[in-house]
Amino acid sequence: MENVINAQQITLGYGRDEPVISGVDMQIKPHEFVFITGKSGSGKSTILKSLYGDIVPLRGDLNVCGVNIKNISNANLNLLRRYLGIVFQDYRLINEWSIEKNVMLPLMIGGFSKGVCLKQAQKLLKHVNLLHKADKYPLELSGGEQQRAAMARALAHNPVMILADEPTGNLDEYSSELIWDLLKNAREHLGTTVVVVTHHIPPDISINYKHYFLESGVLYEVS
């Protein structure tokens, strides 16, 4: 089966002379659950950014869902991102929109009718125990609730792959458990590939996963 992510000797950085990570090789198959761990500032988020095309590899080849990120056009990048669900540590919800509308965003971008968007958003909000707060705005919710809403948004359009950057970094135990359950369920029931960047892998996570460890700009696969 073709890899969802295929990185060959990629160098990533924010300027041509300042590589953060170099010589990265990474192959991720469909339906895999992958952790990328490392210390703060090691470049974990940089790797994730390259996976959704926010930064382009300085060297090497990076293919995501069969699309070469290096020479990708804006239109193709938009198209690729419609197959991804992204979760951030700082939630990145649109504060001027209700939680419900935030969850509807990927579906609206996908061109679904308002009725379909609304139905799916309500289904997912129920799934993350936030249906009763559907008409609230992000700033009216706690951090845990905002992250659950962000999770619902990431799942709304049944993405091929979920990319999560420290999804439980700021959360209480209840919300953290709920997020991990949602990620596990997405992989188990929907066959979604999940890539999570985190400091620590939860010790009680009952799932087969692949683990990459990042240190001093080099990515190691932990067996």
Partner: protein
């Protein structure tokens, strides 16, 4: 409150811009109407020994609109009692032809001198009377106001464009986070910017309507009406379809262009 302030920051300069434009159009129409009125009442008298052909004269002097012969019959009728019929017949033969010439537009003094010289070049013409007091003071004042308002409108246009640009930049910055989140989920350009376009179009429609209503109702206010009557000016009627349509169209296209420009500029920077 903040949102209202944001709207006013666009509506106000747009309103001023459209107001000045409409005012300039109105002044131009007033001047044109007044000029037409003056032109209609203005004639050049020429005296010729021979009959003149209008077409030949028009080919020599392009600014001629029409020519009409002034009949000498009335003068001769008055002399009938005092002069014998033989002398009257002689006089009729000897009497030159009088013509009244209308021009296409009211000329300046310089142009009028040129026209007079052209007439004088024609052999048969013995006398040209141009009534050199061509421009009334009020007409000169209108021309001055027209020129002045053109300069004024250009200045206002520049200031308004700068103010609108600045406000649009604020809008874009305010919505940059929203736009970046939408970008992460693959939203196309039009979807990310739709909100800004909606705001800009709404504000331009409101500005155009305010200006339209002002120009429609203000000339109907008694004091303003009396003022225009006192200076013998008919203020052009604001057409709610054509004029408001133009203002709406201009305003929407203008703000659409500015939003696109600001977004494109911020994207590249």
């Amino acid at each position: 409150m903040k949102s209202l302030k944001n709207h006013i920051a666009v509506i106000l300069p747009l309103f001023v811009l459209l107001f000045c434009m409409q005012l300039l159009f109105s002044i131009n129409t007033v001047v044109q109407n007044y000029e037409k009125k003056l032109t209609d009442g203005y004639v050049i008298m020429i005296v010729s020994q021979k009959s003149l052909d209008e077409n030949i004269l028009k080919s020599k002097i392009a600014s001629i609109d029409s020519m009409s012969e002034i009949s000498s019959k009335e003068i001769l009728d008055r002399l009938k009692k005092d002069i014998s019929s033989t002398n009257l017949s002689l006089l009729q033969v000897a009497l030159p032809k009088f013509y009244s010439i209308k021009l296409k537009k009211l000329p300046s003094q310089k142009a009028l001198d040129g026209i007079k010289k052209e007439f004088q070049k024609i052999d048969s013409i013995t006398k040209v009377e141009t009534f050199s007091q061509t421009y009334s003071k009020i007409y000169k004042m209108f021309l001055f106001v027209q020129q002045l308002s053109s300069v004024f409108v250009v200045l206002i246009l520049i200031i308004s464009v700068l103010l609108i640009f600045k406000q649009m930049k604020i809008w874009v910055l305010e919505h940059q986070e929203r736009m970046s989140i939408m970008t992460l989920f693959g939203a196309p350009f039009w979807m990310k910017s739709a909100f800004l376009y909606k705001l800009a179009i709404l504000d331009s429609i409101l500005s155009a309507i305010f200006v339209g209503l002002l120009f429609y109702y203000a000339p109907q206010i008694l004091n303003i009406k009396l003022f225009f009557e006192s200076i013998d000016v008919v203020f052009p009627r604001f057409d709610l379809v054509a004029d408001l349509g133009f203002l709406l169209g201009f305003s929407v296209i203008f703000s659409f262009f500015i939003v696109s420009f600001v977004i494109a500029k911020m994207r590249t920077s």
